[in-house]
Each structure stands twice: as structure tokens, then as C-alpha cells.
Symmetry: C2
Subunit: 407 residues, 2 copies
Amino acid sequence: MALIVQKYGGSSVADAARIRNVAKRVAAAKVGGHQVVVVVSAMGDTTDDLIDLARQITDQPDPREMDLLLSTGETISVTLLSMALHALDCHAISLTGGQAGIRTDTLHSRARILSIDPTRVREELARGRVAIVAGFQGITEDQDITTLGRGGSDTTAVALACALKAGECQIFTDVTGIYTADPRVVPDARKLEEISYEEMLELATLGARVMHPRSVELGSVYGMPILVASSFADEPGTLIHEVSNMEARNKVRGIAHDRDVAKITIVGVPDRPGIAATIFNPLAAAGLSIDTIVQNAGRDKIADLTFTVTKTDLPRAMQLVQGIVKDIGARDCISDSNLGKVSIVGTGIQNAPGYAARMFETLFQAGINIEMITTSEIRITCVVAEDRLTDAVRALHRAFELEQPDA
Amino acid sequence: MALIVQKYGGSSVADAARIRNVAKRVAAAKVGGHQVVVVVSAMGDTTDDLIDLARQITDQPDPREMDLLLSTGETISVTLLSMALHALDCHAISLTGGQAGIRTDTLHSRARILSIDPTRVREELARGRVAIVAGFQGITEDQDITTLGRGGSDTTAVALACALKAGECQIFTDVTGIYTADPRVVPDARKLEEISYEEMLELATLGARVMHPRSVELGSVYGMPILVASSFADEPGTLIHEVSNMEARNKVRGIAHDRDVAKITIVGVPDRPGIAATIFNPLAAAGLSIDTIVQNAGRDKIADLTFTVTKTDLPRAMQLVQGIVKDIGARDCISDSNLGKVSIVGTGIQNAPGYAARMFETLFQAGINIEMITTSEIRITCVVAEDRLTDAVRALHRAFELEQPDA
């Protein structure tokens, strides 16, 4: 008898009928002989409704109060799912994050899990119950309620699976798995049977919104197999795990893309020690997340420095950069918000230099200009014009034969 | 500087505007130099909405799950009120029942407070904060969430006031105080400045729905003064406390009435030992609350036994009683659901036999037939036809000169 952790997202429990549907799936897993722990998100729009409620009171809700408020969304879900399981004669009990032993630090709205005390969950499982745990929330040493921020419920599920030494963590969502590219962009994109943590991490970071990188990372550290599958359809999903036989397979596993890209170029940056820190420290202090950075070494100790931010952050970033330009004595700054990123991801890329060449050649053949290039060990990313992004994804998907099944 | 506990009911926090209004009142008390603890109910119809949600899942929700579900209503209220206080630059922190140290037994949906550990509340007060505590909820030794059932938030407030040795517990509601009779029935009913615990207890038990008897009883045991006042109007309320000078005052303090009365008569009950237990045990086991009981001693060891139940409970009670009639060999059972109760309440009644006579005479003069009579030390209750109940309340209010101010 294996212990499995299942996680159902907000759209999977959006109303009573869907909650009953989830209950049937959970009960089936239990009847199948498993010990089952279920992590649930808040129903559909509940979280947004609660945020609206807070905004009716104040523009600047206190993060601690906001966390306690938002935590009620998941608490409602777990009780309803537990009731739905009871109605199927399946023993079940709902637990808040605190009751499930999920201890966090005190960084409200983006708390980190410090430890999990699985005693209560284990007790409930030993009593033959399904343990239904509220996702996204934890409790501090002082018994204050925290929320985990982005990817919170996935993180709850993977962390619980690790703490309980579960056989598998199953993430049920509104997509049927991880695809070689976004199926809305590439109609013949193919669902992957399996993918390595590293590849999934790159895909998640690069815009495949199925799972937050944070939970993939956690799974990777603990070697926890994560199945991503649909809560609506009955078809096999994608297993994220340590892929052993990576050399023998197609080295490019997927094409990721991201439309939320803008770039800022600082023209004529004096080339002196510490100049990069002078530029990026104020941006970091303002909470602006900087992505790709490229510096063109110039003549006469003058360089152009280009980096990307999200489109949302662009106005704020430009405001700061205009000040920085004066401070450091650069010539000017310019921005472009009509950009996107396309990446090829695959564990084998690092050992096969031919892939970069094939990527650039493919984009050139399609008449797509490359604005910036960055690489990691298992990824090559090109920044291109946003209106050519779809073409770029499709051309690369074809060029790397991703529509073909694995050999 | 006094410590006061304020409680605001669901209609007082029904929307954002009302929550801001409550925040102003709380902030004013704080600025006035008090240490303030606030207990809040769920917003308006929240509790009903949550019950609806559960009913969409199952007809028989598990009480433990239901408690955790319902507790979210009060949790939402406390966070919003805290945010509203922050917006007024008033330091405040929200606390769940568990965080406020309210320990209960494990009787879900009607838990009793076992003890209150006021450490956290005291710490927050010492930091200069208003402590905003979720009413109606507590936590068991096993960290499970419970709700306190009827009158729950009032009970939270009075219990906290007692544990904190507060100077006063203030219950803010949608009425302006305790009246000599229901002002909707008796237009010249007068608001009482003060009333004793015992009198309030009888009034509350007898249908004055302002406060649940449970919280009045708690206040009485600990001698905690309870002010009942409006959260909407700025006028003095009614103080429930130990009235010292009771002999000198008008001995009838108020007229209570209750329309929710039905009676069942078992005709021809054999008069043998243990017969009453045989009749009432099955009714108690079915959770039916029996009120007034009258037995007419009959000839030949045969008696008629009459008792009252609520109108809601009548069908279920009659079903049980029909079985009991056969079991004990009684002749028949009959019921009447067109009844009401009217009571005169006052601490002095026990020492002044003239009051009973005046009550009966008044009803006789008004042509109102008395079906049943019961008395306590400070109360006389008559069961009368429901369509004469309003007349009875008005006639008694006049007869005892309750529209006249206290001497």
C-alpha cells in the first residue's frame, strides 16, 4: 500500500459538482488501496473575492491580516471536500495548514516552509482516513497564519509528500500534462510521458504555467516523483522525475515561450569596476525582477548594457534607470516593450553544441531577428519581436521534430 | 485606564461601510484611554451562505467539518475590522478563537468553553494594540476548531471579559437596549437603564432575543457588568449587573412573550411510579426540548399530562408520543399549536403574592383564557391562545405601569 499526495487546484473545486467529482477520484484512489493525502486550493474565484473585500476596506491591507483572511479560502475547500467524501462513505478529515504541521517563517504573503511535523496527518492516515490539507497556508511559531505566495498549494503538496516520504505527488490541474510546446500555439505539440526536474524547472521558469518552479525545485531536492495530470479527463499525465537514461533520448524536450518581456538598454555605460552593482542594486531594492542581462563590450571603455524586465515593471524600471543614467554618467537609456522570449529546453543540450546552431539557423530561415541570447546548461533562450514569437515557437518545434514520439 | 470588551453582531459588520463604522467606534474607545478587546460575529448572511454551500454537498454534514467551515465567517470579519482600524491609524491585530486562547470541549456545533488562556491577548494589549477576536469559535486540546452554538459570540465576549477581568463587557447590536416589552408589540415600552442578571436571564429565556441566556448566566456567575446598546445609534443602552437596591423598585421589570409554543396533552395517563420518566426519556433522547409541564391529578389513579414544545418540534414530538401512549396504556394524545406564552418578570415577585393575582385578573378582564400556568422565583408565565398574545402583553404592560419611569 503506497502513500500518495494528490493536489487539486482552484478550477478543479470551483463548485459543488466539481468538488463531488474530485471526491470520487480521491475515493477511487483510497479504494485502490492507497493511503491518500489531498491538498486543495481555494474554490475558483474565492481568493479574488476575498482580495476585493479587503480592498473595499483599505488600499494597503496589512500582510498579516491579509494572510489570515486569504487562508479562509482554502479552509472552506477542505471542509467541503471532506463532506463530499463522507457522502461517499469514505472516511476523511480536513486539516488547516497549521493542523497539518506546516511551520513557516513569518514573511507574510510569501512565507517559506521551515519544517513539517507530519504527526497528525500520520495519525489520521493510520485511522484509515483521507487527510485533506488546506494548501497555500502555514503557521508560524507564534501560531500566526501565513500564506506561501505564488505556487503555494503545489508547494504544500510537494513538501507534504517529501515529509511523509510518499511514493508520488500528483498535481491535478486543468491541463492534461506537460507538452513539448504550448498546444494553443503549436497544434501538434505532444504530451510528454516524462520529464526531468531540471527540464521542468526551465520550462516552468520560462512560461509553461502548469507548475511553479518553486515546487519543482523542492521535488528535485528530495527526489519526489511528481505526476501532472488533468482532474477532468481520465488520461495519463506527465511524470516529473529523475530521468535515468537521458543520453539515449531526443535532447530537446520542449519549446517554452513568454510574451511578458520588455528590454531596457543603457547606452554609453562607463566601464569601471562596480558599475553593474551601481545599476542593479536600486532596481533590486525596488523589488524589480531583472531577467536576461547582456553587455556589449564597447570601444574606449564605454559599453551598452541591456536587460529585460516584465512589461508590467517597465514603467517603474525606466523611472529608476533614468536616475541611474545621470548618476553614473551614461549617455542615455531606451526601452522596447514589444518583445518575447523563446527557449529550447533539454538536458542533453550542454553536451551537444549543434543545438544552438540549429536554433539560430531555424530562426534565420524563418526571417526572425534575434535581439538577445542567453543560455543555461540545459536551455538556450532568444529574445525576439513579440509579433514573431508564435512563428518562432512553431518553427523550432518542427526543426527539433518534437511532434515525433520518443524513440 | 480600564479594559473593556466590545462585541459587534453580524448586522453591525454586514458590509465594508458598517465595518468602517464599527472601526470608528472602537478607535474612539481606544483614544478615550481604554484597553479594548473586540469580539466580532460573521458578516451579515455569511454563516447562512456557508451552510448553503455545505448543503449543496451533503444533507448531513459532519459536525467537525461544519465547525471548521463556519469558523471562516468570523475569521473573515476580524481581519477586515483589523484592516479598517489600521486605516484609522489605530494599532490592531486579529486573532482566531484558538489564537485568543479559547479552549473548548469537543462537542462540535455546541462546544462549551473549558478555559481561556489570555496570554496572547494581554501581550497584544500591552503592545498598545486593539485585540480583535473571532467570536463563536474555539479550539480543542487536539487543535480542532469548534463552534459554540447559539449565542456563541456573546458568550465569547462575556467569557473573555471575565478571563481578562475587564471593567465591562459591551454588547453592541441592532437594538438600543432591553425594553419593558417588545416595542413592536407595545409601542410605549420603555428602555430600562439597568436590570439584574436574574431578570435578564428570565427575559432572555422567555423570548427577548437580545442576548442568549447562556452569556447572561456566565456574566452572572463572574459578576461581569454587561452593557447592551446599539452599534448604530449614539444613545445609552441597558446595563445588566448586580442590582443592589432591588427592594425599593417596581417589582415587575418587563413583560416577555414567545409565539413559538405548541402543547401536547396525553389523556388518561395511568398513575404509577416512573411513568413520567417513561414518557419524557424518549423525547429527551430525540433532542426535543420540553418546556412547561402540567399534570392534572385525576380520579381513579388516572391523570392528564400536558407539556409544551416549540412549533417546529411538534410533528416529531407527536410521532414519538403516539408510540408512548400505546406503550404506557394511556387513552389518547391531542395537540394544539395555536398558542403563545406571556410572562411577567421581576426580582421582587417571589416576596409579593399580589403580583400573580394581578396578572390573572388582568388577563380575565381582557377576556383572555389561561391554558397553563408556571412560575419561577422571579417570573410568572401563562400560556394563552396565540391570537390573544399581543392583547395579553399590552394589557399586562399597562396593568404593571411599565410605561412609567422608575421612581
